[in-house]
């Protein structure tokens, strides 16, 4: 059966847009939850997004651990790491009024440390990283062949997004988190342990960013430059969607995913990055509270 090449390009654009959009939305949700809750603009989100798949790559290629087990190990190892960062660096600023500037600078420092570590270690081992697929083979959706692994990544990302959304809406912790989002003092008065919620939101946000990175590595091969482009995309999504707005992160994340998919076909991914930067600047100047302000 001969297939129209334009149709094929179109289908691949739609699937890429879906996969990228879901991963963007997930990662940006991780960044925006932390900003909304503890006022921490995580400039290191891109490097953290890259850290998880790099470790996964070492676990699977280097040590030959099963991909699923390795991915779970990475997520599990991320928790004590995030706890340590919260304990050492973040907790001490909780009562400082202008803490978002301090947090921003600290996470920029973390960005520089991680990018130094990456170029000293993984950067010397390889230029391009391919993680072994969780599921091999090709699945036909109608007449269109798609890598099963990519469909799996999409499924996981959408499931995680749905779980995150439901947990924030209905779970006890999610409700406490949203209460702290809206009014820290009132939440404290109603018996919410604000500091625990802060810690929880930081652990949750960091894990979500790690999960985004792992899913990205399932769907695509990657290199070290992913950190910068992803960091910029996540920040742009947060600012455009409205800092602290998970709904904004979902909608704008999906939108940006499709933008990236379309622009990458007709121009280069860098043009997409440039358009995120401009979108962010425009929103900052015209409507700093974002499109989906709470």
């Amino acid at each position: 059966m001969a297939m129209d090449p334009n149709l094929l390009v179109g289908i691949s654009m739609v699937t890429t847009g879906l996969v990228l959009g879901a991963i963007f939305a997930l990662t940006a949700a991780g960044v925006t939850i932390v900003y909304g809750c503890i006022w921490l603009p995580n400039a290191a989100s891109g490097q953290l997004f890259l850290l998880a798949p790099l470790v996964l790559w070492s676990f699977t290629i280097g040590f030959g651990i099963e991909p699923v087990l390795a991915a779970l190990l990475v997520l599990a190892a991320g928790l004590p790491l995030a706890y340590l960062v919260e304990r050492l660096l973040i907790r001490r600023f909780y009562d400082v009024p202008d803490r978002n500037i301090s947090y921003f600078v600290i996470t920029l420092g973390i960005t520089q440390i991680l990018s130094g570590i990456f170029s000293l270690t993984w950067g010397r081992w390889s230029d391009q990283y391919n993680v072994p697929p969780l599921a091999a083979g090709v699945t036909f959706i109608g007449p269109f062949p798609l890598p099963t692994n990519r469909i799996l990544a999409l499924g996981c990302a959408l499931t995680l997004l749905a779980a995150l959304f439901l947990a924030l809406r209905y779970h006890r912790f999610g409700r406490a988190l949203r209460a702290v989002f809206q009014n820290r003092e009132a939440a404290a008065l109603r018996g919410v342990d604000v500091r625990r919620v802060y810690l929880g939101s930081f652990l949750l946000g960091t894990s979500v960013i790690f999960a985004g990175g792992l899913l990205y590595s399932m769907a695509y091969s990657f290199d070290l430059s992913v950190a910068w482009s992803m960091g910029i995309a996540a920040f742009a999504i947060m600012i455009v969607g409205g800092p602290g707005s998970v709904l904004g992160a979902l909608v704008v994340g999906m939108l940006f995913g499709f933008v990236q998919a379309v622009v990458s076909v007709f121009a280069s991914p860098t043009v997409a990055t440039l358009s995120y930067l401009l979108a962010m600047l425009l929103i900052l100047l015209l409507r700093p509270s974002g499109l989906f302000a709470r």
């Binding site: 400039a43 520089q112 440390i113 991680l114 990018s115 130094g116 600012i239 440039l274 100047l285």
Partner: protein, 340 residues
Amino acid sequence: MTSADSRRSRMLWLGGAALAVAVPLAVAGNRFAAFIVGIVFVHILWTAGMNLLYGYTGLVSMMTAGIAGIGAYVTTNLVMSHGWSFWLAMPVSAVGAAAVGVILGLPALRLRGFYFVLSSLVIQSAVTLVFVYFPQFTNGDTGITQIPHPRLWLPGEGAVELKGAAFEILLGLLAFAGVGIVHLIVRSRMGAFIMAIREDDLLAEELGIDVTRYKVLVFFIGSLLMGVGGAFYASYVGFISPRSFDVLVSLNIWLMVAFGGRGTILGPIIGCIILVPIPFVLQDLYMLKDIFYGLLIIVVTVAMPAGVYGTFLQRRRAREQAAVAALETSRRAAERIAAQ
């Protein structure tokens, strides 16, 4: 200011000018050391501009390297592609960089705190992408090599290439002039106004200070220093690429000011002298620099917000106050004894 203070300050300035000449001469025999000295001088000029913006006006601008890059690329293009003299190209591109700095600084008039920092970081990232994506002017990621040194016309000798210790002395005097300009501004009425803006710009506006005007002025002067530094950096090093002026460079210029002591004249100079040589000393492991600088950024933010020199000043002030208090107590005690 007492006359003893002003004499000490004059000595310090004379000493500074003497060092700007003496240090390059002292290390002239060792090209490697001399090169590090030259680079330190360029950074002192850059941090003088950053100190004016961040240290005295409170504008945490993360696009300083981008502005320096504009000065560097414009100068290099005018000299290499259009045959301009460096001495014409440099001031033209520095004024150009300053004008761009004012335009890119306009968000600072609307955005406060974190939102301004973010917007400047966004602008810096966009400027870097522009450097990469206009290869006809920048040669893209590969960068521009073999940028010529400026030429000087000496009576009797004609055109002579500026090189060796003479170049470093010129950079030293430039750095000295840059710090001097910032010092004069800080001492003037404008200095009082911009520090008021740093402490509380809404209150400053209420008090009748034209905040917009002074912010624009600070961006112009700061960016001018960046642009001059960038132009000289390009012709001194002979090589520039988008990486020479990217986000991390901006962040590190911030670090040198913050680590040394923001809002002090000596602090950023100390920051440059300590931090700039590190990647050169590390040689093959220069990538360790990123890890080290990153750790320092965190340490300064968490534990030493006043910086090395600022903390020293605070300690000295505390000691002096303690000494005055002790003197006062003993005087009172003596009076009590005398009264009995």
